[in-house]
Symmetry: C2
């Protein structure tokens, strides 16, 4: 494995991917307090909420959460949007960074946003067309590797969809997402290598992985060695995908901070503060959490005391 | 990361490392039943027990367990021994494969076997001297990377101890063990690269890792890419080290089988059978288990049903 010098960036997704997976509505003030704690731990980029329809009542307070997040110094607060209408709502609320999402798999896209993939591509074109100057755009490709309904997604299918999307707008960071957590490191390496070589115009690549099958850190390591610098992660491993059966468990931010710290790669994150913030997340009613570092550090402290 | 063509071999350590960590005595018949189930899942090498003193009552049935394991077709049954006296007991019981262990760290060795490292080196020399022809020997180097008492172990210290040990006897597989689970992939890569280059006479290298900090699969991946082909793992992640505070959680065999299956690397293991055997292990009274694949596969089945 070659060591590559580049700047690692985490996208903390607990406030969106994580909260969305929690059943009981989290009070807005509590969400804001959590975002502030994650920011205080050094995280400088977060997916803070999503502008979506009333089918996701947990995120109905998107505008208020976004406003609070944008008040934090130096925080790049991205918001997830599924279509033009919600992108317009996000922009009206002052969003500076939109993350559009669609799935490579027809069945997952239908379940997730009730559209065909072609219809989602059209929405991407509409969002690209209305995007004001200075507003950042990210493209999240769910089921890039594996679909909860159809299994392994052929690389050619993912690359072909990227062909269409990047012809519309290539000035966007592209996140390849392992929605199910079933991908293994060789596939991560291989798809990123193919995509990076085929689409050199893409300014930045990101990886969004899950730890459902214990591959969280290994897959992030594979992405890092493939040249990816932007990693999605969720404090306490909070989250999952309600449309991917069994796919609970984002990779835990604190586990990745532990790994990259050990490898001498700067994360900008204070692990002690992050661990405390992550511990608070595990106390949210209805939270499904994962990760190992949080418990390991606390157990070690107890044993040494 | 380069792909290397070589034969992967698991050493299933649940029957020794795993059982040793369980408080309530497991009936001998139950241990044998578990070893048989792991064998039926395709595992062909196991650390089946340890010949140690009465301080470890859980392994007092070593001779009986060893005999039952050696009755299984094609099973390479290795037994752990801390000194000459117990090596002689193991040989008298018919052991064909001895695994000697000592720690790089003085404090850990004192806690683990109540000897100085120099005294353990002497025991290694004695065992090498009495080893009959045809009896395999493995050298387990605990705290090769990190010590629960003293933190990071300098590579030079580990390599220097290997200098002494390999001068005595180099015709043994060498396992570098991450006793605490605190190692990260860069350190795994680096130490194996240094050791392999310095000791080309060693016939085989092995890695023994823990998942305590979520690095289990990532570290095995790093070892694999460094050229290591022999990986210790424990079904259901059963186990830990009683002298390493917080170090519960061997890397789960089923998680590694999932990873290597996904990478197209032959494991010889039937994952469905292994998952059932691992599930049984989680029901042992007093068992501390880990791993993600077992639950993920079962949750997916439930959700799809």
């Amino acid at each position: 494995m070659t060591q590559v010098k580049r700047t690692l960036e985490f996208v903390e997704v607990a406030p969106r991917d994580g909260f969305q997976s929690v059943g009981p509505i989290i009070p807005t003030a509590e969400k804001i307090r959590i975002i502030q704690a994650l920011h205080a731990a050094g995280l400088r980029r977060m997916e803070v909420t999503s502008f979506v329809g009333p089918a996701v009542p947990q995120l109905a307070d998107a505008a208020e959460v976004l406003a609070a997040a944008q008040a934090l110094a130096g925080l790049d607060a991205q918001v997830l949007v599924p279509n033009q209408r919600h992108a317009e709502r996000a922009l009206a609320a002052g969003a500076k960074h939109l993350a559009f999402f669609l799935s490579v798999s027809e069945r997952h896209n239908a379940n997730n946003v009730r559209r065909s993939v072609a219809e989602s591509v059209t929405e991407y074109a509409r969002i690209a067309a209305i995007r004001p100057a200075g507003i950042k755009l990210r493209l999240n490709l769910a089921t890039s590797f594996d679909c909860p309904f159809d299994g392994r997604v052929a690389e050619a299918v993912t690359l072909s969809l990227l062909d269409q999307l990047l012809e519309i707008e290539h000035n966007a960071e592209v996140a390849l997402c392992d929605t199910t957590g079933r991908v293994t490191p060789g596939h991560v390496t291989s798809l990123f290598a193919s995509a990076m070589s085929r689409f050199p115009q893409v300014p930045a690549w990101a990886f969004h992985g899950h730890d459902t099958y214990g591959m969280g850190a290994a897959n992030v390591l594979a992405a890092w060695h493939a040249g990816v610098a932007v990693m999605d992660a969720s404090a306490a491993g909070l989250g999952g995908c309600p449309f991917a059966p069994g796919a609970t468990g984002n990779v835990a931010t604190e586990d990745l901070v532990w790994m990259f710290n050990g490898m001498g790669i700067e994360t900008g994150v204070d692990l002690a503060k992050l661990t405390i913030a992550a511990r608070d997340l595990t106390h949210l009613p209805g939270a499904q959490t994962g990760g190992r570092v949080r418990d390991a550090l606390e157990r070690t402290r107890e044993c040494r005391a």
